[in-house]
Symmetry: C2
Subunit: 221 residues, 2 copies
């Protein structure tokens, strides 16, 4: 699916602040890194398509084009594979959040991020994890690169939310945490997929519909 205006930048090389420090790599190590990047990218796509439970390690190996045993030389478990994919998208999110123009109004910053996450989902790059998988949650909670990214993004968005509430552009009655959760939830909102399957609207139209209903509500203004 060709992404036009809303295409999220994919800064593979950029290292968002707070992540593990990059190290000089030998040629051999760069090859290894590239291979693992290809694996994680495949996992990311499969997670977006089928979700964690339905994705099998055999599928991943077949899609990457290597044997399953080789895959386990790179990642020790299925959870680790999914975790690596989550770290990847979290890095992208961090990178995007830090590219949002400083001068913009807080509300517009939040809308930019919401549009970016929705574009990510519509382009089939948003991994979907089950909310109730203990082993996966345990792995994620033991992945500092993920947790740090999540905290960084949450802090930034939280600051924008409070600023927007201070100026009265976001409803001050809503607890900031509820607004933050709503932003995260919209990133994996099934409404996007439903509308996409309907085939009546372009990606951009779908994004604007959901942005409108999310920020302005269903009732008329």
């Amino acid at each position: 699916m060709p992404q036009t205006q809303l295409s999220p930048p994919t800064p593979q090389s950029a290292t968002p602040p707070g992540t593990s420090a990059p190290v000089r790599l030998s040629f051999r190590e760069q090859m290894l890194q590239a291979r693992e990047d290809a694996i994680v990218q495949t996992v990311n796509r499969l997670l977006a398509e089928k979700g964690f439970d339905a994705m099998t390690v055999d599928e991943v190996a077949a899609a990457v084009g290597i044997a399953k045993a080789s895959l386990y030389k790179h990642f020790p478990s299925k959870e680790a594979l999914a975790s690596a994919a989550m770290v990847r998208v979290m890095r992208q999110a961090q990178a995007f959040v830090h590219t949002v123009p400083e001068g913009l109004a807080p509300l517009d910053k939040l809308k930019m991020v919401a549009r970016w996450t929705m574009a990510l989902q519509l382009s089939g790059e948003m991994p979907s994890l089950p909310s109730h998988n203990s082993s996966l949650r345990a792995t994620l909670m033991d992945t500092p690169d993920y947790l740090n990214g999540l905290m960084d993004v949450s802090d930034t968005l939280g600051g924008w939310i409070e600023a927007a509430q201070a100026t009265g552009s976001i409803n001050p009655q809503l607890p900031p945490i509820a607004v933050l959760y709503t932003m995260y939830a919209r990133a994996c909102d099934p409404v996007l997929e439903f509308l996409q399957l309907g085939g009546q609207h372009s990606h951009d139209e779908i994004v604007e519909l959901v942005i409108s209903s999310c920020f302005d509500g269903l009732t008329a203004r």
Copy 2:
């Protein structure tokens, strides 16, 4: 969890219009029916707690207190179990929708239904199915009692949505189908669970928060 004002009525006996006609049952058949109701209720709870993939048939049998083989005498597959649970909630939804006072404004009717679905989720009675499970979808699409219920509810809600848009209480710019999808999506919105885990708000407060953000939007009015 005690439900107070928002407790959804559970009309086990009521038969919403459009479902298979009820038949006079012998005592033996009534016992069978009761057993199956207990099974479906258990499945419903487990589906709400863990989701379809994480729920095992062994768990269901253990929770009901019968052998697994006995379970398969009642329902031919795991998909059929989940399907029966979906038919159950769809019947409840149908019944509730038909109890909504006729004289109410369309917008208020929609809010009533939204509140009901959210209360259902908060009380741990909303089955959660994976969006991408083909075998399960096939079973559901082959279950007339479910499809008819879904169509009935969708038609009713769709009528209210169009009426609300005609009077200008719901944003006429939004396609009715998008509004309908949004209503359905809010019924399984993860924001509810997040806020519940936070422990800072009562069920009623959580429902009103999400109702507010859904209908009035995140931005101030």
